[in-house]
């Protein structure tokens, strides 16, 4: 019996673990500078804008818009289910605050600019943020 392919999961590293485990309580978290208020992703040990080290994970709305997407048709590894949508979300909290994701939507319904909301897909100790259309804005 062949095992279903699983996603290659991210290592939980000291600076990034909060992002991958945020889904445990259902809230997407993004690093924010508590001095100047700037969000940054991926996280850094200090704020790239004001250089304060007072940076910490902060829960965000999980809302955003699809900045761009691609429909991947290539089965890169045996058994990879295709097609799937890989996209980049611009989070509502700040311009050009981007996270990558899979968009959980019918292929034909995906469009740049579509409103999205986050949910989580759990694999072991990782809660992968995924996005689907935000019906509230539909």
């Amino acid at each position: 019996m062949s095992e279903a392919p699983v996603r290659k999961l991210p290592k939980l590293e000291p600076e990034t673990a909060f992002f991958w485990t945020a889904g445990a309580d259902g809230a997407l978290r993004i690093q924010r500078c508590t001095d100047c208020g700037t969000y940054q992703h991926p996280p850094f040990p200090l704020c790239a804008k004001c250089h304060s080290e007072a940076v910490a994970p902060e829960a965000v709305s999980g809302k955003g818009r699809l900045a761009s997407y691609t429909i991947n048709h290539e089965p890169w590894v045996p058994g990879l289910p295709v097609p799937f949508v890989f996209g980049v979300v611009e989070l509502a909290e700040q311009a050009q605050l981007y996270v990558f994701t899979n968009v959980l939507a019918e292929i034909d319904a995906v469009r740049v600019g579509m409103p999205l909301t986050a949910e989580f897909e759990r694999h072991d100790d990782v809660w992968l943020p995924m996005f689907r259309e935000d019906a509230a804005h539909g």
């Binding site: 996603r7 999961l9 290592k11 761009s68 890169w76 890989f86 050009q96 990558f100």
Partner: protein, 394 residues
């Protein structure tokens, strides 16, 4: 204008090894082939070379992307460098060239050979286990952690985001993008070292399979085995050599955005490439309209549009219409583009094929693909880190 370091350096020789998919020759053999031929092309002997540099150096990674170190190359060439460099930082492929220019301008070296060797085709015959596509469940870290868990296992997935955003913002279409692949292939037909030389029509392009929409198989470059070598010399030492010196009119570089920090812009441009373009034109009195040909990086076809705009060769959003139909970018067009086939048809040299092709054009070696009276060429390089250069012949 103050004397800029690049005005003190010239390209005096260039060569490529055989290019295979795969080649039976080892990466070190291919490197020696290219370096010895480039040194001879300059009219020099190996003992004249006192500097050597490469991108990215050697790594234990088995995929053939970094198979030869400059020290190994120096040893096999029998040269005794006073200056040596391997530069992988920021995926800036052109950095060894810029550093060689600086070394020459500072008097650290007089004749430098810069090479780029790849052995990605032969590596893939052995194993894919060193790539992200091995099926291994080992967890990913660094920049891969942000994309690979979403099964974006190839760079095409990332650059497809750019293509889609560009298409939507500017109303571009796939036939316009296909003009890049068709143009490159038409030129490759006249390049004996190109790996793909069979003519390609727009219909062929549109019939090729979609890998990651809107990008198709024919929007991608290909793994190869081969080496390119470029000899740079101080301008005072260049005068009496075999070839008319190719002046480095200006250079520009930048890192940032993709993979180096965080994403910038709206996915329709590479903002750091625009910074490289600005630096390029600040250092010369030449204008974009004075370029006789352009060798524009095409790891994926979409890079060409974004680079053309970053370099100011066309206004933002206009590259798609400029290339449409292929007439303006053909060998006899107003801006002959990727005259040796680019990476799409000549193989993934990480931009060194583009530099080599610029020397081919400016030294009049293009035969069936020669741009008439080519005296200037703009070159751009990189998808993650960005370099650009203008070469000029008197």
């Amino acid at each position: 204008m103050t004397l800029l370091p690049e005005k003190l350096a010239c390209i005096t020789g260039a060569a490529q090894s055989e290019v295979g998919r795969p080649s039976k020759r080892s990466a070190l053999q291919l490197t020696a082939d290219a370096c010895l031929a480039a040194i001879a092309d300059a009219g020099l002997r190996p003992e004249d070379i006192d500097g050597i540099a490469t991108y990215p150096g050697k790594s234990s990674e088995g995929g053939g992307i970094a198979p030869v170190s400059p020290s190994e190359a120096a040893a096999v060439l029998g040269i005794e460098p006073r200056w040596i460099l391997a530069s992988a930082e920021g995926f800036s492929h052109m950095a060894p060239i810029f550093n060689a220019i600086t070394a020459i301008a500072c008097g650290l070296a007089r004749h430098v050979v810069v090479f780029r060797s790849v052995a990605q085709a032969q590596a893939r015959l052995v194993s894919r286990s060193s790539t992200l596509m091995s099926g291994s469940r080992e967890r990913v870290d660094g920049n891969n952690a942000w994309t690979v868990p979403y099964n974006a296992l190839s760079p095409i997935n990332t650059f497809a985001l750019y293509a889609q955003a560009y298409f939507e913002k500017y109303g571009a279409n796939e036939a316009q993008l296909g003009a890049i692949a068709v143009n490159n292939r038409a030129n490759a037909a006249h390049n004996p070292n190109a790996i793909y030389r069979k003519p390609l029509t727009l219909d062929d392009y549109l019939a090729s399979r979609v890998i990651s929409s809107p990008l198709r198989l024919l929007d991608c470059d290909s793994h190869i085995d081969g080496s390119t070598a470029i000899v740079l010399s101080h301008r005072d030492a260049a005068k009496d050599l075999r070839n008319p010196p190719l002046h480095i009119e200006s250079m520009g570089m930048a890192v940032g955005g993709l993979w180096v920090g965080r994403f910038e812009g709206d996915f329709t441009e590479m903002p750091a490439a625009r910074r490289a373009g600005r630096m390029l034109w600040e250092r010369t009195d030449l204008k974009p309209a004075q370029m006789d040909c352009a060798q524009i990086y095409d790891g994926f076809s979409i890079h060409v549009w974004m680079w053309m705009e970053a370099l100011g060769l066309v206004p933002p959003g206009e590259a798609c219409r400029f290339v449409e139909g292929g007439k303006r970018i053909a060998i006899d067009g107003e801006l002959p583009l990727n005259t040796g086939g680019g990476q799409l048809s000549a193989g993934r040299f990480h931009g060194y094929g583009h530099i080599h092709e610029a020397t081919v054009q400016l030294w009049g070696r293009g035969s069936g693909r020669q741009v008439r009276d080519a005296k200037t060429c703009v070159i751009s390089n990189g998808g993650y880190g960005y370099g650009a250069m203008i070469l000029r012949r008197d």
